[in-house]
């Protein structure tokens, strides 16, 4: 039974052996997929980022007219010095930065108060109707982020910037003060009412996960309520709050719609709106400096979060565990709380939609008499008096084209996001613990830290000109698909990994032992077991792409117009009612999509898709 020794090897045999091992490694499915993904992400993320930085530190063609000594393509600190010093630095960088910070901090605090209170009421009290409140609480987030801003304008606008009176003026008989109509106050309120959902979801998950036994144990030991709150509840809820702070903060920093609608009329610029302004003025170098500033800010906040909370895991919420049995008794205030919450939800959901709808039914904006009632903006024929001579939205071939663009973009994006999700999930999960797998996962995470508008800027930097074998894609539909798919990479990777993790590795291994090749294992085992996850991911991506604005606003052209950006152009063009019709259509599509997702995944996927 003695085991014979293995024959000694010559050096050429050893070389042959390592060559075989290497080629086996190189041709293994996960390595092939990982390398393919690395290549894709290199082109879609790494090179564009590099180009963005490069443009800010080299002379651009239009600098030549300004600075005689400039040599196009040579290194220069010109853009950075210009944007960070002196009066230009103040106007173009520091003031917008300060504005961005103001609205980010303000919205975050307000969102925390709203989301935290709602979460507490829903999870930990005996308030009647909690289930319904829970379901409605995420609706404002599902609607396009600038819906509220648009509705705000309908209600609160004044005539400082010319134009027509708002509902407020009609009701009160006096125009609202400008600080209430435009600028930081309304921007903060509208953003907070959209992004409080992060806090709501994170905090309720944390509250649910607190083992109520833990608190009961504290109770039994005679700890005071305050002590329980401080020692047990807070340490568990704090990480959730921190995650919410970071998410809200970095989202608001990069948000475009609200500040554009409510800030621009009084020239209240944020970094996001300034980036677009500079680009529109042909100042690419300046815009890209601002984009880099925005990216660095986002990275800093996320870095701080990771130091404070630990891993990215903190973003994930736990769903489906039901409410805690032990509820705080609200006693005689029960009704009062319930009524307050109902009013709140009517104010942030029904009223804005109602205002927008009402607004679209007025022939002349600002004329509140019944005789002014019309369907012109919906189904009216073209008339030079209204809307720059465009027919009503539903009869408007331009809008049909735009809607079709949006749907096409959302479908393509959802498809490629799901496809990349499958590939990334497989590559990352099968390689768990290897450096290659970590590299793929980290690269896929990068777009997460780049605010939407900056990401759009990155793509302009990359694709405005021909680059090696890549043609100039600016102005093409393909570019919109690429940018949307890239921005969704973190979501692809996260949902792909979680779907793949659910399929125990033994299930695929059993297929290997049975002799199935990669394709057979994939099509007959892995795909059937993950398809429902990918299906809800597909729908999720569809609706997030549908209502995405910051990402694509810099990249659309008349030929590739989308519903989201079209609302913005209508508003800027003074055709607010047309904008509102389009927003209402967008809301209808998005809410319907969300309803379908709910059917598919019992409400789990919004939590997974957060922040994309």
């Amino acid at each position: 039974m003695a085991v014979p020794a293995i024959a000694a090897q010559t050096s050429s045999q050893r070389l042959l052996a390592s060559t075989r091992r290497f080629s086996r490694w190189l041709t293994s499915t996960r390595v092939v997929l990982s390398l393919a993904m690395l290549a894709v992400m290199f082109v879609m993320v790494v090179i564009p980022l590099y180009k963005l930085v490069e443009i800010t530190v080299t002379w651009q063609a239009h600098d030549l007219t300004r600075v005689p000594t400039a040599v196009e393509g040579e290194f220069t600190t010109f853009h950075w010095v210009r944007m960070l010093t002196g009066i230009i630095g103040k106007i173009y960088t520091y003031t917008p930065l300060q504005h961005s910070m103001t609205i980010a901090v303000g919205s975050t605090l307000l969102a925390l108060v709203i989301g935290g209170s709602l979460a507490w009421l829903v999870v930990r009290t005996d308030m009647p109707g909690r289930k319904l409140v829970n379901q409605l609480a995420v609706l404002p987030y599902i609607m396009p982020s600038w819906t509220l801003a648009q509705a705000w304008l309908v209600f609160f606008k004044n005539r400082t910037t010319g134009g027509t009176p708002g509902v407020f003026e009609f009701l009160v008989g006096q125009a609202p003060p400008s600080w209430l109509s435009y600028g930081p106050v309304p921007i903060i309120i509208c953003s907070a009412l959209h992004y409080y959902t992060f806090f709501f979801l994170f905090v309720s998950a944390a509250l649910i996960s607190i083992d109520s036994n833990l608190e009961e144990a504290g109770d039994l030991m005679g700890a005071s309520r305050w002590r329980i709150l401080r020692k047990i509840t807070m340490p568990l809820v704090l990480p959730a709050i921190l995650s919410g702070v970071i998410m809200t903060f970095s989202k608001v920093m990069g948000t475009f719609g609200g500040p554009n609608i409510l800030g621009l009329p009084i020239r209240y610029y944020t970094l996001a709106t300034m980036i677009r302004g500079s680009l529109a003025a042909g100042e690419g170098g300046d815009a890209f400096v601002l984009a880099i500033v925005l990216i660095l800010l986002a990275i800093t906040t996320i870095y701080i979060n990771q130091r404070l909370v630990g891993t990215r895991r903190s973003y994930e919420t736990i769903g489906g565990r039901g409410f805690v049995a032990q509820a705080s008794k609200l006693g005689k205030y029960k009704r009062a709380f319930q009524i307050a919450v109902i009013i709140f939800q009517i104010l942030v959901i029904a009223v804005p939609i109602g205002l927008l709808l009402w607004n679209t039914l007025m022939l002349i904006d600002g004329n509140y008499s019944l005789s002014n009632f019309t369907l012109q903006h919906w189904i009216g024929a073209a008339n030079t008096h209204y809307n720059s001579g465009e027919p009503g939205v539903l009869l408007n071939p331009k809008i049909w084209q735009t809607a079709w663009n949006s749907i096409k973009l959302s479908l393509f994006t959802a498809f490629f996001t799901a496809l990349l999700g499958i590939i990334l999930g497989y590559a990352i999960v099968k390689g768990r613990g290897t450096r290659l797998s970590k590299l793929v996962e980290q690269l896929a995470y990068i777009p997460y830290v780049i605010p939407g508008i900056a990401f759009g800027a990155v793509y302009i930097a990359m694709f405005a000109r021909k680059l090696g074998p890549i043609p100039p894609l600016y102005g093409t539909f393909a570019l919109l698909v690429i940018v949307s798919v890239s921005k969704h990479l973190p979501y692809s990777s996260r949902s792909g990994v979680s779907a793949m993790m659910q399929v125990g590795h033994e299930l695929e291994e059993a297929g290997m032992v049975a002799g199935a090749n990669v394709w057979q294992r994939f099509s007959r085992i892995i795909f059937p077991l993950t398809k429902s996850g990918f299906m809800s991911g597909f729908l999720m991506t569809f609706i997030t792409t549908m209502r995405e604005l910051s990402l694509i606003i810099l990249l659309v052209t008349p030929a590739t117009q989308l519903l989201a950006s079209q609302t913005m152009f209508y508003t800027e063009n003074g055709d607010a009612q047309m904008a509102n019709v389009v927003i209402l259509i967008l809301i209808a599509i998005v809410v319907a999509g969300n309803f379908i997702i709910g059917r598919f995944s019992r409400g789990g996927s919004l939590r997974k898709g957060l922040g994309m």
Binding site: M1, V3, I6, A7, R14, A17, R20, M512, G515, L529
Partner: protein, 360 residues
């Protein structure tokens, strides 16, 4: 079917964890070999290396005459080409396929004709006594039934070698006993060379032709159950095998043919041993007398634990504690004096330093 499996100098590490350390085994055709050892000793890793689901860092594996893995030559055949069947610890039945699809999956890949496939499904379900379950999904069956289907799935494509990773560990005690009977018969009938992983020494002893005891990635002993039980090659194996556990007593070889255990001396029939040793005595190899007997040592009965067919008695003498097993229900009462006699034939002597068996 008669396939030898030869494992040569296999090693495998995960990061800094050494899961297999120079393991060599020759598994004879048609034998039922058990890999036995505590959790984390590398049993699953070894099985997965044989199956081709894990690439070792060194060594070679032959299945029959086929070299399926060789580190020095850089060869590693994919699992599907190794002609072996594997039953996973958690069964790994495909949850989205009904029983018949689970069973025919491998056959479809081999492009077997439909009629033949249906015959195979029937046969293999018969072999595990699960006829009539073709249309169930895995989740519609109990753990024990899923276990049988996992077996049927492996049997259906008639692999030359069966690999099983703790297939019974998720079943309750009663079912486990039934399945042992079935598995042993299955092996008897098919004659397929089988490698079976378990951490349950009773299972290993009852099922195996040969047992490979492992510890921390190393092979400790590779022998028949009889040899493993009666002549454990080191203290680890001695201690791991047997229930109740073997008595291990520190002693010094004193003069010729006796070991001084401190309180008393016991005779040994070997002259190889010297110096400090550990004496291993199985509980059933100690004879109890209820009155003084020449050559017997006086202990007191610390505890008496009758268990129907046999009884376990814990005897004490000062600090020294011995476990004794007798047949039937013992009539000895607690704290009674008893006299113990040791048979030199049944003792095993281990070197205190190395823990290796010196003489038996």
């Amino acid at each position: 079917m008669s396939t030898t499996i030869t494992i040569k100098h296999l090693s495998k590490h995960f990061g800094t964890v050494v899961a297999l350390d120079d393991v060599s085994l020759v598994i004879e055709p048609e034998t039922f070999v058990t890999l036995l050892g505590p959790s984390g000793c590398g049993k699953t890793t070894l099985l997965r290396c044989v199956a081709g689901l894990e690439d070792p860092d060194g060594g070679e594996i032959y299945v029959g005459n086929k070299l399926v893995f060789s580190h020095p030559q850089g060869i590693s055949l994919p699992p599907g080409q190794r002609e072996l069947g594997l039953v996973f610890q958690n069964y790994a039945l495909w949850p989205h396929m009904k029983v018949d699809k689970n069973i025919t999956f491998a056959l479809e890949i081999q492009k077997m004709p439909k009629v033949e496939m249906q015959k195979r499904v029937k046969e293999s379900l018969q072999e595990v006594q699960m006829e009539g379950y073709e249309d169930r999904y895995p989740r519609e069956m109990s753990g024990g039934q899923q276990q049988r289907i996992a077996l049927a799935r492996m049997l259906a494509y008639r692999p030359k070698v069966f690999l099983m990773d703790e297939p019974l560990s998720n079943l309750d005690a009663r079912l486990r006993m039934d399945m042992r009977v079935e598995l042993k018969r299955l092996h008897h009938i098919s004659g397929a060379t089988t490698i079976y992983v378990t951490h349950d020494q009773v299972e290993a002893l009852t099922m195996s032709t040969t047992i490979a005891v492992m510890k921390e990635g190393r092979l400790q002993q590779f022998d028949t159950p009889d040899k493993i039980y009666h002549f454990p090659s080191n203290l680890f194996v001695a201690d791991f095998i047997g229930n109740p556990k073997v008595n291990l007593l520190d002693g010094v070889v004193s003069g010729k043919n006796s070991v001084d255990l401190g309180k008393f001396k016991i005779p040994i029939n070997t002259s190889y041993a010297t110096g400090k040793v550990v004496v291993g005595i199985r509980p059933e190899d100690i004879t109890i007398f209820e009155r003084p007997e020449p050559g017997a040592v006086e202990f007191s009965a610390y505890s008496v634990l009758p268990a129907g067919a046999d009884s376990t008695i814990i005897a004490r003498l000062g600090e020294m504690e011995l476990t004794i097993r007798v047949m039937g229900i013992s009539k000895i009462r607690m704290d009674e004096k008893i006299w113990l006699k040791f048979d030199p034939q049944t003792l095993n002597l281990y070197d205190k330093e190395s823990g290796l068996l010196i003489a038996s």
